[in-house]
Amino acid sequence: MSSDSEKPTDAKPEEKPAATKPVVKKPEETPVELPAFEKGISDKIVEKFGDKVEVAFVKEDRVGINVSKENVHDVAEFIRDGLNYDHVESVSGVDYPLEQEIAVVYHIGSYSDPSLARQILVLSTRAQREENPIPGHDATKLPTLRDIFYSVEFHEREVFEMSGVYFEGHPDNRRLLLPEDWADLPPLRKDFAIKGR
């Protein structure tokens, strides 16, 4: 299991040039004054990772960071060690069928740093989406953050069964909430239709 969790870090150096997304800061056209403290947090991340991260939004108490799946492990490690965030509140899979991607959104908070008590850092990464998913055996994979934030353990299990994103390196990718005989699509994908709708 430990070898699996190292994979993303191994893969990182060679993937570096591939992940060149332009930095899109979103102060928008209107000169909206961004909250200073939150701006500081996003600036620190941008300063460290440069092109590899994209600041999605800076709102009051909320900072949104988009990052490719090759870098999510490093960014999360920096968020924990450099910025004092210490736990993950929720992990949600959001399906975007048009873009052929499934976004996995981590909401990261901090208990140990009182100045960050109000803050939530929204770390979003995207996995490739398959038309005919075989959960766990297709390209819909992401590196796990369990070795960084221990609290994602059950959340990532839930995302795996609900959205079909397999977390490489997670020691326990078993089913959690759905019935044992579930053989349908992961229910939170948009192409899974519910009765009568």
Partner: protein
């Protein structure tokens, strides 16, 4: 118990060689076990489990590993919310915790208000605070009653179960329903307070506070309870943070974190709130924090009744089918009876949310259970399990 967090707490629990390929239920997977180890299924039909199953491995009287198996009440709330518009989601999203229905709706309503850009009248905010605090007490009283049953303390079932009816009466007066109020809606609350509510509420809350203080003599100072819960299931401060627990579990481990104070929503910043923190981190501390919280809630209700504007509108009229403004996300959280409860709403400009995720405290606290039960006696399992302030229906959604 060591403070060092084991790298893999479920290693002794059941593992499959190939993850995800074979969907055997956890208890049925073939496994290599020690002859001394016995696997025990606790639940879903068990007086000490509630609506979930705990797969416990015991060596003699001691628990070696515990593997929680939730999902018996998984009703697909998040999926169904994608097919309902923002207003019709209201009665639907309070069902996970019907006895804390105001608090479980609160972040959703706040989030939708942020998406739609609505300002809520001040009186409505105060009404919300009062309803949320009353609901918190109703929830904790039910929790306490069940904790009494779990410990074999029948008086502690009867007293809270009877006393919570006082507050349920108040909520019934206010909203018209016993438990499923659907009172909070985007834009305010559904109805104004009934006439003479303030006086009745003050009287009931004062009596209620006097009444819950008596619980100390029969329950919290009871030597049997203390010997059963003290030093069982100790969660250190460091582990409470790393496991991402919340609410009373976190505060019992010595972390001062209450969203009503740290990230005040509505009018909580105008009220004087004291956060109860204990440092022991054992089941006793975890069971005492909610009780202290109830007294705090009584104080908040009295303050809110005093500061509330005596008249005014309690809701903003919305358009029939409100829509968000284009692609937008919002994450709102409140302090519910069990801890911080958040909603992540993704809107794409349609009347229905594109994706709605409930980040529920019960689910977040569940991760601590295998860790706490390791090395405990089997007899301590119910007291540790229910002290996590866990409500299975909410965890499963």
């Amino acid at each position: 118990m060591t403070t060092e967090l084991p790298t893999d707490i479920t290693s002794a629990a059941i593992h499959m060689d190939k993850p995800s390929s074979s969907w055997l239920p956890p208890g049925l997977a073939l496994q290599k076990v020690d002859e001394r180890i016995m696997t025990l299924n606790v639940g879903p039909q068990h007086p000490g489990s509630g609506h979930m199953r705990l797969i416990v491995q015991i060596d003699g009287d001691y628990i070696v590993a515990c593997d929680p198996d939730p999902g018996y009440v998984h009703r697909g709330e998040e999926k169904m919310a994608e097919y309902r518009n923002y207003i019709t989601n209201v009665p639907h999203l309070e069902r996970p915790v019907i006895h804390d229905s105001c608090n479980v709706l609160y972040p959703y309503v706040l989030g939708v208000e942020e998406l739609l850009g609505i300002e809520v009248p001040e009186r409505a905010q105060y009404v919300r605070v009062i309803a949320a605090e009353l609901n918190r007490c109703i929830y904790i009283m039910y929790w306490l009653a069940i904790y009494g049953i779990f410990l074999g303390h029948s008086t502690m079932f009867m007293w809270p179960a009877g006393d919570r009816e006082l507050l349920i009466d108040l909520m019934e007066k206010m909203t018209g329903a016993r438990v499923t109020h659907a009172h909070f809606i985007p834009g305010g609350v559904r109805n104004d307070l009934p006439p003479n509510f303030e006086g009745v509420c003050l009287r009931q809350v004062n009596y209620f506070e006097k009444r819950i203080k008596e619980y100390a003599a029969v329950f919290y100072d009871n030597p049997i309870l203390i010997s059963r819960t003290q030093d069982t299931g100790v969660l250190s401060r460091q582990d409470a943070i790393r496991l991402g627990t919340t609410g009373s579990v976190l505060r019992a481990s010595g972390v001062d974190f209450d969203l009503r104070k740290k990230e005040p929503y509505d009018v909580y910043d105008e009220l004087d709130i004291h956060t109860n923190v204990m440092t022991a981190g054992d089941a006793y501390a975890r069971s005492k924090i909610p009780w202290l919280d109830m007294m705090e809630s009584c104080k908040i209700i009295r303050q809110a009744l005093q500061k509330m504007p005596k008249s005014g509108s309690v809701r903003v009229k919305l358009k029939p089918n409100p829509k968000g403004k284009g692609l937008d996300t919002v994450y709102k959280r409140v302090e519910s009876g069990r801890g911080s409860l958040g909603y992540y709403i993704v809107s794409n400009g349609k009347p229905e949310p594109y994706r709605l995720k409930m980040s529920v405290p019960s689910f977040r606290n569940l991760i601590a259970l295998p860790y706490l039960l390791k090395g405990e006696k089997l007899g301590n399992m119910p007291s540790v399990y229910w002290s996590l302030n866990y409500w299975p229906v909410e965890a499963d959604r």
